[in-house]
Symmetry: D3
Subunit: 313 residues, 6 copies
């Protein structure tokens, strides 16, 4: 029995090691990334059992994804699809402050995820289903896979968590709003960056935006704001969480980390305040290290951000 | 006025730095590659003026390709296509003896090459047109572009050079045979690896294969055989060229180098024997260095393979 | 149910990237190594289920070992021992032909393996037990663990495979001979390098040595001889296996790879000739790549050594 | 017809990758640098046509300079001088705040620039001539080359831009003052760091210094002050420009970038205020990336410094 | 005749090049470290003659330590101990703010230092003896070595300098307090971090702590507080020294650098204020560069921290 | 008292890490090199005391040279010359078989060596003086320094060893012949590559060449022939030494290593046959490792080339 089931696309990640134009990079560092597996790794590191459903190509990048997830203790339910390559992401930092991600995912194995790949028993026997707003944009099949997973979860009384995750490279704001409005309405818990949330609902402040999302249905809405922290709207009540002060070196993956921290608290039966704190800690850890998920904390790590000593011997 | 015009797809090249499974590579070296631009660079280094026609995406890899060609003195007639990304190649060495190349070129900018991209004046005013058997497999538009370029060249009396370059990832042997049979018939000079040539024609020995290709039309046929050297069938006469003995570290690009050396000799008005020698030298240089084109020789370099001193000071 | 159970010490591996004195290396590459897990990874890559029993420290190198084994599909039954650090190996190449390995394993977590760590059910339900002659030299507890595992296996009718693996840094030839003579007598299948075998038994030729070992009890003895190949003495009959011709870049791990190939054949019910061939193939793959286990072949890879094409696209 | 012609010495650049004493660096990164080509690249990236006149040795570093300039779209009018090597710069960061540059340029090919190398037609047909105060210090020939270029420009009514660029390794403050006083008097537009300007003229504030320089002749004077911004004195009127707040990782090249931005605005017919803004943007881009010119912005990049999103997908 | 004699353990240092979990590091940078040799290098760079007494293994890491000390001008009195390996340190940065050091020093050659290794003449003829609170925790022999050296020094009237240097991996706070209370009482000059000082004595403020230590005997006590600076209690008078504002990239070694700066001042006969300033400068240099000692300043460097120009040419 | 005194120029060495054109190298590895210090390091590693006299610049490369020599146990008598930079060498491998070295040594500190730098006492009290044919080509002062050292040695009865070391970048064959003919006549022992020897004397075979050199005066002449081995002409008798079969990765420095091995044997009072064997071993070690001197053997290493085991544990 797993705690959380998630599904989506994970890609190989190629990352320029320094700051500057990618064209000047003599080499690219190799890793992997994907919103749902970032979350899965985050939960696994915090001690929860997580299964990921997805497709990879019959190639070395597919093998890399599977071995990375196995290494991180995630139950990898990857279908090896010989008909398409594993998707790729290229990440570079144009300046200290601007990170750019380019994708090679059109027609990728990961985008061919379909309802058949989703094991309904796995979903039914889990404690949470986690989906992101990226998957419906990958292909008609992928959209069906998400919907099917949500149907199965709801039928079994398994709470549905949704992360908006707008990707401009995949679809426009209108298509996004249409699809996500529907999905939010069927979710129990929603994570959203403030900016992308405004593509779906209105609202002056982050709290307003959170309330507007909550009005669509979900009992818990988390609106994240980068180094400005986050706002939670839980059963009608709003709470503010401050970000931990750290020097950020890679902003990508903060939202996934935040979600992992929050859900970890939920699974442990913590209060909303404590869930938010664990979420903020996880988000802070994510940005302090290059890589989308490499910096995610274990339980023991959580105490480190407030460690007194700069050197542990 | 340029000496040679060529067209096709060039991609960013990501290369595992050591020997072994790609999944264990911590980083990939960045370069570029493409049969036609490998040839173009080879000719440019030998002092000829070459123009390349192709498409790149509006991204950093596209910029990398354009700046690399400019750096090598190739007249880069690249159309920047905002609608598709620059294609990618991933190269790794599973063992010392086996190199693997994976592609991300489906739907790439380069595969969207079309007749409109081909400047007929440029072709008409050149001394040679060079095309490869890869381009017709990229897309219907790309196939048309090749045919159009050949039409223009033939109409203007510009000799057509063709390299077979079978790519199993793009099409099957039947489709290849059908298309290439037609193209060979319209070419004046054909370069073919022995293996790929056998996909088009029969023949017991490499010479037989060369004669069979020549029987389809071209006055000059060059059949290459890696470290075994090459066979030329020129106006019905067969010549054998031995490979130079070198320690090969990257077999990719040898054929393009060989073609560059041969055409360089032709442009200089050398005898077939001398053309073959320059071709074999260039092929040997190509394999002695990692990278598809980085090892290509300048005129001054050509003498180095038989240098007496191991150390030049 | 697993196919093979093994136990022993696995360490972090730090490897000088080039040839020369370690003191001149500006950095060391990080990996892991251990005779038994090299074998386990070899079997897992060939499709078998393998469990490894061992101890690691509560440190990052311990985490690295566990995540590597999980990544390779090995069922990692590691006890995390907070009382001792994970062992270390330092590997360097003084010249092209001489590799040196230094150890930091005195008092390591791995050397504290004890009978309590061995799950008898796991052994009983497996098809083979694999132990090496390294473990008894690590500590009295570790020696007991090996003996206990053998007892359990023999009681359950599970065949016992033993690899001699003499380590001069751990004990002298006499202690080795005394202990291994006993262990060989209780094993069903023995792997031995020709040199280390001569520390235990006499014999003019490799075959003689094999027969002497077989005389101690085991029905199958495999004597390996590096690039000279191997000799098998199986139920009294001797067979010779030639090594595949490859360019070796790292000799370490060849014996483990050979054993993995051989046992894979056995588990598949192959003939001794075919087992030997798979063993030789695996041994050849191991040496063609830096790293003790990174070059180990999957089933699909096995065909690559005799691939005709130097470039697979 | 080019927009800007410039001339001077460009060298290979070897750069310690980290912070600390150069003696501890295991390797040095390779690039190129030179005040005038930094400017040329900056202008080229902003869409202008620029030609550079200079000398390089008949060596690999000379080839590197030529291919870099070609890659950046600069019309490289390099004379290959077989009689002297290409000059070298060694750059390292002793601490986060102190960068040191050492030179190997005594007797270099670049220092042998002479009036004969300057194509008067090229200058006459351009819209601006750009020279720096480095070149007159390289050799008597080089000084003559600068003077000749200025003569030609002035005769043709082409405005002359001058950057002071004091280099203590080449000459003392007195020689500098003598030469530069003369050159400033013959320039239409002058760029000067506040410190080096004070070697030529007096003045309490940066504005005073600018006015003193303007008093020598030039209609436009730009005094730059690093992260404190810049002051312009244009036709008697003073304007202040603030620096953009960025985290600087390499201060070298800021002045060249600033000049490129300013001249780009001029060539586009922008107002002084807009020229200054483009200059400040370009200066900020230059310092945010290691390398003297690698961080220079394209037109599209200019908007990035004020981008709202930290991640562009 | 040397100025300072010191003794203790120095180890090879393996350092993860980036920020993040060590398990994700593909390679580790190689250097050396040890409190006493950090100090020795610091003094040597400032122009003093220093001898170090210690043990290294008969291995490459031992050779590395000896060649590093020789390179830094330290008179290396290392006993090569064939019976044990050179100790190791593994340093990594979990986050920007937390550095972790793991040790492989149990039973190391360095921990086998014994009184016999200490040349009494060397101590007697020096101007200062420097010992740290690490050595007594290494082994009974090592503790005796420290005591013997102190005895010799005191008998000869050579002042004894002691650095507390608590290492939690070696012993608990009680054992530390017992041993160090005794050693402090026999020292003339004591360096202590505020935190570790509180393990030995009480006190509200850093000054109180310093006075409590001074009450045990030493005429000079220096209490360091990282970026908060330091407090000196010298012959009953307290002085405060502010830290220089720098961006710290590696906090390890600051205390050793501080001590080197202070003792350098003493040896030069400077005032306490000037000793403190040199100490603070040296401490600041140490943290601005990765590595425990690589950033230590020469005399010429000392002026650099207040350099006006960011670029020295 | 030292065993050997040598003098000459040592430079920083920048080396392209892979095979190919230097212009494609993203970084260069940093080391040092110089014929005389290569020899000095070789002798030091074999246990002899060696002093080196030379000049370095007041820069980081000078510091690197001094610390490298100190690290290798060479008594470094370097004059720090603030008036000129330390010389540089750039080494790259155009192909596997061709290494190119470019120099930045015109006007370098090292070339300013002069008689005043030579301490006559040091020479007088040594057992051997070693000079190379490079130094006289550096400058008139440097030539005088060599002559002066030889005068002092001869006057004191200290044998003079000379290595021809022709450097085409420094002078032509005529000047070389004139100068070296004179120097050979004043030497007791001469080392010469066969090719460079033929610039000075005639002879059909290597032995003939050796005899011709010997005819000029020296009692011992060693003619080296790379992988073909060497010929000794000692007091009129000729001996042939075969090279050890190794895979060469960097031919530079073999001659210096050979000389170190030979002189080491002489200093130990070995027979000519044994001197030649040690010389051939040292030469073989030198080429098996990148770097001019890094591969040089210690006494313990000498046995390794004939080690039976590929792996030492
Ligand atoms: N620079 C930062 N410093 C500290 N915490 C951060 C930083 N950036 C993000 N976080 C934490 O991570 C959470 C999610 O970050 P955000 O950037 O909103 O997510 P996303 O990756 O979806 O854009 C924030 O609410 C905050 O708690
Ligand atoms: N290992 C090698 N050694 C020397 N020359 C080679 C080697 N491989 C290829 N060449 C040269 O390059 C030519 C083309 O090589 P080939 O491998 O046939 O081309 P392709 O890259 O098209 O497969 C050969 O005819 C030969 O002259
Ligand atoms: N250089 C090599 N080339 C090809 N195969 C090798 C080579 N070295 C080892 N092998 C294969 O691996 C097997 C085991 O190698 P060996 O070196 O004897 O093991 P060990 O690692 O125990 O010393 C050999 O029998 C052979 O099949
Ligand atoms: N640290 C910085 N942050 C932002 N902008 C900077 C910084 N340093 C330089 N600049 C910009 O570049 C311009 C030129 O910089 P400056 O350092 O004066 O030039 P130089 O390289 O000639 O010393 C400044 O006027 C400013 O606009
Ligand atoms: N971040 C820093 N910035 C500037 N100076 C520092 C910094 N950290 C340490 N120092 C200097 O080094 C001294 C010793 O540092 P501290 O961290 O107390 O030593 P330790 O390495 O023993 O913990 C401080 O008193 C201060 O002068
Ligand atoms: N490839 C090689 N293999 C083995 N030994 C070599 C090799 N090259 C040089 N040596 C040894 O080094 C000696 C000197 O080499 P040589 O190349 O003649 O010197 P140089 O560096 O002066 O050109 C040779 O006589 C031989 O003993």
């Amino acid at each position: 029995r797993v705690d959380v089931v998630t599904l989506g696309e994970t890609m190989a990640m190629l990352r320029a090691p320094g700051i500057g134009l990618l064209r000047h990079a003599a080499s690219l560092d190799v890793s992997t990334g994907g919103a749902e597996t970032n979350l899965a790794i985050g939960l696994s590191r915090l001690g929860h059992r997580v299964a990921w459903i997805g497709r990879v190509g019959a190639d070395e990048f597919g093998a890399l994804i599977c071995r990375t997830l196995a290494a991180e203790g995630v139950d990898c339910r990857a279908v090896e699809d010989p008909g398409a390559p594993t998707g790729l992401m290229i990440k570079s930092r144009r300046t200290e402050a601007v990170t750019r991600v380019n994708y090679y995912r059109r027609g990728s194995a990961g985008s061919r995820l379909c309802p058949r790949d989703v094991d309904p028993d796995l979903v039914t026997r889990s404690r949470l289903l986690y989906v992101s707003g990226i998957t419906p944009a990958l292909s008609a099949d992928a959209r069906e896979a998400v919907r099917y997973a949500i149907d199965v979860a709801r039928a079994a009384g398994v709470p549905v968590c949704l992360s908006l995750n707008y990707r401009a490279a995949l679809w426009g704001p209108e298509a996004f709003r249409a699809e996500l409005t529907e999905l939010v309405a069927r979710a129990d818990l929603v994570f959203a960056g403030e900016g992308e949330a405004r593509l779906v609902v209105g609202g002056d402040t982050a709290e307003d935006v959170g309330r507007s999302l909550a009005a669509l249905g979900p009992g818990q809405v988390l609106v994240t704001r980068g180094e400005l922290g986050a706002v939670a709207v839980v059963e009608g009540e709003a709470l503010v969480a401050r970000a931990y002060p750290v020097r950020a070196v890679d902003p990508v993956g903060a939202g996934d980390a935040f979600a992992a921290g929050y859900l970890s608290g939920l699974l442990d039966g913590e209060s909303v305040v404590d869930c938010l704190d664990r979420a903020s800690l996880a988000g802070a850890f994510a940005v302090t290290v290059p890589g989308d998920w490499e910096g995610l904390p274990s339980r023991a790590d959580l105490a480190l951000l407030s460690a007194e000593d700069a050197v542990l011997r």
